[in-house]
């Protein structure tokens, strides 16, 4: 019943075919726009009124972003879909590409029309071989059907849509790094301004949106901005695909209205595993601040509620941790990720992320000191806001929030050289201890 936007073909067999997509009303908005020559401004007004916000992490209003492109100016413009999906805990774009690729195509077509772009690219992460092939097959179907190409439905509008494949780099999810990568370069984020809307791919005006963002667009134009807006809560239109992973009974993607309570979502995912108690939640992917159970339990899952609670909705990627989780070790893994993935271009991020990882790592090795905890906060604060792109903040925010909410666990680890969690000898955590002893405590990275 909740699968009404991005997952609306899920009940069909197979969900990804053109036939299935047409059955749910797919491409009807696209055809109507071209045949009736719907003015760009009308579409733009709808997108704005729907309160669709970017699903890639920042939640920026999509209509406003599209409005930055001066469609009436001559010259090449581009629309680019960000299917680089690399934020730990996020796995929705992969499912959208696999299950409903045509809706992404239609969304990109409409975006191209609004911004008068005749060429588009879907940048798909290199690991996504299967989704890439699925999307390619959908492109072929759409071309055969005359939904893409030159002079579509005799409208005089041309749109050529291509795939591009990444090759393994989280940073290429950052939109300007993605553009660099699409140009065949290292994924080094650009300084902003200028923003892609004025200087994007090949120096031309470009809009980059997330896969899920594009997939929302056709439904808004079919059913109306009002309908979409009312699915969610004010300022947060629509349903969202929530990726739920970690210690839940039924991990997976769940389409649910923005503003749904965390409790209700958790129920959809089968609750915390085998009757364990909730300890902490990362509500928007590994880059956003962690929240303790008390705070998470009372949350509503929309952009403002999460910001008020001291975190972010991010990409809607919920990582659930129960009481057997050692927060120090989780932070060590997260810090390792950002060290690995920092592109190395700017010093605070390249050096700072490495510092953060080395300090947390040494705590997990029983070699930390109490001063290290302050040092972590100090280094993190010195990265925040001082980097070319937001990867620096993404490395710093977990550190600050883990220490803020679970400081006593860090102190215990430093003082005892082991985790407070594995020291609580309930039968279950006992098993955990034995096991972690066997492999040497924790995988040693690097």
């Amino acid at each position: 019943m909740d699968n009404i936007v991005c997952f609306r073909t899920h009940h069909l067999n197979p969900p990804w075919s053109l036939q299935s997509y047409l059955k749910v009303g797919g491409y009807s908005a696209w055809k109507r726009i071209l045949v009736d020559k719907v003015p760009r401004q009308t579409i733009l007004a709808s997108i704005k009124a729907s309160a669709l916000r970017g699903r890639g992490g920042a939640g920026f209003p999509t209509g406003v972003k599209w409005g930055f492109i001066k469609a009436e100016l001559p010259g090449q413009k581009y629309v680019v879909c960000n299917s680089d999906e690399g934020e730990p805990g996020t796995f929705k774009d992969r499912e959208i590409l696999l299950m409903n690729p045509h809706q992404v195509i239609e969304g990109m077509c409409i975006a191209a029309y609004v911004m008068s772009a005749t060429v588009g690219y879907n940048y798909i992460r290199g690991e996504f071989w299967e989704p890439y092939q699925r999307f390619e097959a959908a492109l072929e179907e759409a071309k055969k059907e005359g939904l893409l190409g030159n002079n579509i439905f005799g409208s005089g509008f041309d749109f050529h849509l291509h795939t591009h494949l990444g090759a393994g780099a989280y940073i290429c999810g950052e939109e300007t790094a993605l553009i660099e990568s699409l140009e065949g370069k290292k994924g080094f984020p650009r300084y902003k301004p200028p923003f892609p809307a004025t200087y994007g791919l090949y120096g031309k005006p470009t809009t980059v949106n997330n896969t899920e963002t594009f997939a929302c667009v056709p439904v808004i134009l079919e059913k109306g901005a009002e309908w979409f807006l009312k699915l969610g809560v004010p300022g947060n239109g629509g349903t969202k695909i929530f990726s739920i992973s970690g210690h839940v009974n039924k991990p997976g993607n769940y389409e649910a209205p923005l503003g749904i309570s965390f409790q209700e979502l958790l129920k959809k995912a089968g609750g915390v595993r085998q009757g364990h108690a909730l300890k902490a939640v990362i509500p928007g992917g590994s880059s956003v601040p962690v929240l303790p159970a008390e705070v998470a339990s009372t949350l509503n899952m929309d952009y403002e509620s999460l910001a008020k609670a001291g975190s972010l909705l991010g990409a809607g990627s919920i990582i659930v941790m129960d009481e057997t989780t050692c927060m120090v070790k989780v932070l060590a893994r997260i810090a390792h990720f950002y060290t690995q993935e920092s592109c190395g271009q700017c010093t605070p991020c390249r050096e700072g992320a490495g510092w953060l990882w080395r300090i947390v790592h040494r705590i997990t090795q029983g070699q930390g000191s109490l001063k290290d905890i302050e040092l972590l906060e100090d280094v993190a604060n010195k990265i925040m806001g001082r980097t070319i792109c937001a990867l620096g903040d993404a490395a710093a925010m977990p550190v600050l929030s883990f220490i803020q909410h679970f400081r006593e666990e860090f102190v215990y680890y430093v003082q005892h050289g082991k985790s407070v969690v594995y020291s609580q000898r309930t039968s279950r955590s006992r098993k955990f201890l034995d096991y972690s002893g066997e492999v040497g405590g924790f995988i040693s990275f690097g």
Binding site: E85, G86, E87, P88, G89, T90, F91, D93, R94, Y121, R125, G126, E127, F128, W129, E130, H162, T163, H164, L165, G166, A167, G168, A169, Y170, S181, L182, E183, G184, K185, K186, G187, Y202, S243, I244, S245, G246, H247, P251, G252, N253, I282, S286, I319, M321, T325, K329, V330, R333, I334, F337, Q340, E341, Y435, S436, E438, V439, F442, I443, F445
Partner: protein
């Protein structure tokens, strides 16, 4: 004579080139490297990089710096199959340590190494966007989810070396 990109590889690269403006051949560098890597033993030696640079009319350095930046390119010999095991948070919470430990024992190698018979290279992956099926891994172009030691056994058996 150094390495020459084969006719079929050239045709594949040419199909990618059609996607980009004619003066933006550089855009095809990632796909070209992937194609050449897959057809030539899974890794890229300097002669492969030079051939790609030559084919796309790029300075060699433009290809070198790309090849060394992206994690899916290997610049040293690798096994016939590359196993990328995700150890990021959601997989870790689902027991990726067990999976890594099992694979290391089963293959008799550590992370980052290649088996003596040249069949497998074991690598640590960052989040594969398969966290709902954690623990997850990728072998070559295929994803495997909800891993257990038994499942790994049947996957490896299916690859027959």
């Amino acid at each position: 004579m150094g390495f020459v990109i084969s006719q079929s590889e050239q045709e594949e690269i040419d199909r990618w080139l059609l996607k980009y403006p004619p003066h933006q051949k550089q855009s095809a560098v990632l796909p070209a490297l992937k194609i050449v890597q897959e057809k030539n033993g899974g890794w890229l030696a300097t002669e492969h990089l030079d051939a790609v640079a030559d084919y796309l009319s790029l300075p060699k350095i433009a290809v070198y710096e790309v090849a060394s930046f992206y994690s899916l390119f290997d610049l040293k010999p690798v096994g016939k199959h590359k196993i990328y095991v995700c150890t990021n948070v959601s997989c870790m919470l689902a027991g990726s340590e067990t999976i890594v430990g099992y694979l290391e024992r089963r293959l008799g190698i550590k992370m980052g190494e290649t088996t003596q018979d040249g069949c497998f290279t074991l690598k640590e992956a960052e989040c594969l966007a398969a966290c709902g099926g954690a623990p997850a891994m990728q072998i070559d172009n295929t994803y495997y989810e909800n891993l257990t030691p038994e499942k790994i056994e049947s996957i490896l058996a299916g690859l027959n070396g």
